[in-house]
C-alpha cells in the first residue's frame, strides 16, 4: 500500500465511468461521495467515490485489508463515515437498512447453535411484521419461497451446524432475500467453498440480478468478472472499471505487484 495510491483518486473519474455501467438512466441506488474512514491512525478508505445504478451487478475487488469490508459496513450503516457521505436509495444508510439484503463473509454465529435452517431464514423477516410475538404464516411462506429460490428447500428442517459450506451460503442468501430487499450486498460469498459451488452461486446471483441490484465483494477478480457488469477496485481508494477494461496495468496499480493479467471470455 504505497502512499502514491492514496493520492490517486484523480486518476479515477468514477462518475463518468459509472455512467458507462449498465442500468443507467435511473437514480443511483447507492451514492458514495469523497468517503474517508480510518481505524485509529490507520486510514482504510480515502476519497472514495462510487455510484451504483439500479439493476447493476457490481463486483468490488481488491487486496486483503484494502477496505472492502469497511466500505460495506459503511453502506450498511454499521459504521459512520468520518468524511464524505453515503446515500442509499436517497436515504442515510441506517434508514435504508430494511431495503438491503446482506450476506456476511464469515458466519458470525457459533455453528453449534441449536437452531434450524427455517428459523435462521425467518430472522430475515424481522422488522417487517409487528414487533411483538411470533412469526406469522406469511413469514413462513416467504421463507419457503426464498429457500426454493436458492434451491435449498430440502434443508429447511436441518440444524444450521450440519450444513456444508455451500449449503450454508445458500441459506444465508435466502435469509437476505426473505426480507424482500432492493439491493443485495454480499461479502466474499464464496470464500469458503469450492470452485464448482462458487459457479452455482454466481449463476444464482446472475438470475437474481433480474430484479435486484447486487454488490458483491470478492478477492477473486478473475472469477467474478465473468458474471458482473462492472468491477470496482478498492485499495484505500477506488478505481472503477468495466470488466473489459481490467488489464495488467490496472492490476499492477491496484495490487502494486506484478499480477498475471486475466483473460475474459465474454
Amino acid at each position: 500500500m504505497s502512499p502514491t495510491l492514496i493520492q490517486a483518486p484523480s486518476q479515477a473519474p468514477s462518475p463518468s465511468l459509472s455512467q458507462a455501467g449498465i442500468g443507467t438512466g435511473s437514480q443511483p441506488v447507492i451514492a458514495v461521495e469523497n468517503l474517508g474512514f480510518s481505524y485509529g491512525d490507520n486510514p482504510v478508505l480515502v476519497g472514495v467515490d462510487l455510484t451504483i445504478a439500479a439493476g447493476e451487478f457490481l463486483g468490488l475487488v481488491g487486496p486483503n485489508a484494502g477496505g472492502k469490508s469497511t466500505l460495506l459496513k459503511l453502506m450498511l450503516g454499521l459504521l459512520a463515515p468520518q468524511t464524505g457521505r453515503i446515500q442509499v436509495l436517497g436515504m442515510p444508510p441506517r434508514a435504508a437498512r430494511r431495503y438491503l439484503g446482506y450476506v456476511p463473509q464469515y458466519p458470525t454465529f457459533p455453528r453449534d447453535f441449536p437452531i434450524s435452517v427455517e428459523q435462521v431464514v425467518l430472522m430475515g423477516r424481522l422488522g417487517l411484521g409487528p414487533p411483538l410475538g411470533w412469526y406469522r404464516p406469511a413469514d413462513r411462506a416467504a421463507v419457503r419461497t426464498a429457500l426454493a429460490e436458492v434451491e435449498a428447500l430440502d434443508l429447511a428442517a436441518r440444524r444450521i451446524g450440519t450444513l456444508s459450506g455451500g449449503q450454508l451460503q445458500r441459506v444465508l442468501l435466502a435469509r437476505a432475500l426473505v426480507g424482500e430487499p432492493r439491493i443485495l450486498i454480499l461479502d466474499e460469498p464464496t470464500a469458503n467453498i469450492d470452485q464448482r459451488v462458487e459457479g452455482d452461486i454466481f449463476e444464482l446471483l446472475a438470475r437474481l440480478n433480474a430484479r435486484l441490484t447486487i454488490l458483491v465483494v470478492s478477492h477473486d477478480i478473475a472469477f467474478i468478472s465473468g458474471f458482473v457488469h462492472r468491477v470496482a477496485c478498492l485499495n484505500r481508494t477506488l478505481i472503477c472499471h468495466r470488466t473489459d477494461a481490467v488489464d495488467g496495468d490496472l492490476l499492477h496499480r491496484l495490487y502494486h505487484a506484478d499480477v498475471r493479467a486475466v483473460a475474459h471470455g465474454h
Partner: protein, 301 residues
C-alpha cells in the same frame, strides 16, 4: 427417599422448599438456555457474585435482603452490560473486577452490621429450607415476568443471541435487548440464590440447559427440557440431602454436575457412533462428511 416423602407430608417448610425449587427451575431453564447458547456464563457469574454487595447493603440499612439482591443484580447487570459494550477488548478483566468488588462491598457491609451474621453462609451457599412463604410469591412474580418477556420478544432474543450484526441490520435494537437479557439473567440469579446461594448459582444457570443441549436442537425445546431437569435436580438434591442431613444447595449442584458429566460422555459416544455409521454407508451424507465440511465428531450440542 421414603423418609423424605413422609417428612414432606409432615413439614410445611419442606413443601415450601420443594415449591421454591420448582419456581427457580423455570428461571434456570428459560434464561439458562440463553446463557448457554450466547456463552455469557462468565457475565452471569459476575452478576451473581456482585449481588452480595446489594444483600450486604440491604442487611446494613435494614431492608429485605432479597429486595437488595434484586436491585443489586439489576444494577450490576447494567454495569456489566455497559462495560462489555463500551470496552469490549477488556471485557473479562473488567467483569472479573466487578465480580470481586461487589463481593468485597457486601462483606464489608455485613461485617459492620450490628448483631450476628450467620446469614452470610446462606447467602453464599443458599438454604432452600429457609425459604419463606412470601418469598414464594415474589419468586412466582419474577417467573411470570421472565416468561412473559421472553414470550413477547422471543424473535428478538433469538436474533440477538444468534447473530447480533444481522439483528441490527434488521432493525432490532440490539443494545436494548442485550441489556434486557442481562437483566433477565439478574432476575434469574435472584430466584436461584434462594435455592443454592450466589456462589453456586452459575451451575444451575448453565448445567440443566447444557444437558438439554446435548439432545434437543431448538431453543424452545432446550428451555422445556432444562426446566424439567432443573426441577429434577432441585427436588432430587433436596430428597438426597434430607436423610443424611447434608446442606441442600451443594447436594443439588453435585447431582446436576454428575448428570452433566454422564450426559456429556454419553452424547459424545452417540455422536461418534452416528458418524461411524455414516462413514461406513456410502451415500450422499458420507460424501458430505468426506469433504470435511461436516465435522463427524464435531460439537455435539
Amino acid at each position: 427417599m421414603n423418609e423424605f416423602l413422609t417428612a414432606l407430608t409432615d413439614h410445611a417448610f419442606l413443601r415450601t422448599a420443594l415449591l421454591a425449587g420448582l419456581l427457580a427451575s423455570i428461571g434456570c431453564g428459560v434464561i439458562g438456555t440463553y446463557v448457554v447458547v450466547k456463552r455469557i456464563a462468565f457475565l452471569a457469574g459476575g452478576i451473581a457474585h456482585s449481588v452480595l454487595g446489594g444483600m450486604g447493603a440491604a442487611l446494613y440499612f435494614g431492608f429485605d435482603p432479597l429486595l437488595g439482591a434484586l436491585i443489586a443484580a439489576l444494577v450490576s447487570a447494567l454495569i456489566i452490560g455497559g462495560v462489555r459494550l463500551a470496552w469490549r477488548a477488556q471485557e473479562d478483566t473488567l467483569v472479573g473486577a466487578l465480580w470481586a468488588i461487589g463481593m468485597a462491598v457486601g462483606i464489608l457491609f455485613i461485617a459492620k452490621t450490628p448483631g450476628y451474621s450467620t446469614d452470610l453462609m446462606s447467602y453464599l451457599f443458599g438454604n432452600i429450607l429457609l425459604v419463606r412463604q412470601r418469598d414464594l410469591w415474589l419468586m412466582a412474580g419474577l417467573d411470570l415476568a421472565l416468561v412473559l418477556t421472553v414470550a413477547l420478544f422471543y424473535r428478538q432474543f433469538l436474533a440477538v443471541s444468534f447473530d447480533e450484526e444481522f439483528a441490527r441490520l434488521r432493525g432490532v435494537p440490539v443494545t436494548f435487548f442485550y441489556l434486557l437479557l442481562l437483566c433477565l439473567v439478574a432476575v434469574t440469579v435472584v430466584l436461584l440464590i434462594q435455592v443454592v446461594g450466589l456462589i453456586l448459582v452459575i451451575a444451575l444457570l448453565t448445567l440443566p440447559a447444557a444437558v438439554a443441549g446435548h439432545y434437543v436442537h431448538s431453543l424452545g425445546g432446550m428451555m422445556v427440557i432444562a426446566t424439567l431437569l432443573g426441577i429434577g435436580f432441585t427436588s432430587g438434591g433436596l430428597a438426597l440431602s434430607y436423610g443424611p442431613d447434608l446442606p441442600a444447595g451443594p447436594t443439588i449442584i453435585l447431582l446436576a454436575g454428575a448428570v452433566y458429566v454422564i450426559s456429556a460422555v454419553l452424547s459424545g459416544l452417540l455422536t461418534r457412533r452416528r458418524a461411524q455409521r455414516l462413514a461406513q454407508r456410502p451415500g450422499p451424507a458420507a460424501v458430505t462428511a468426506g469433504r470435511g465440511t461436516l465435522g463427524p465428531a464435531g460439537p455435539s450440542a
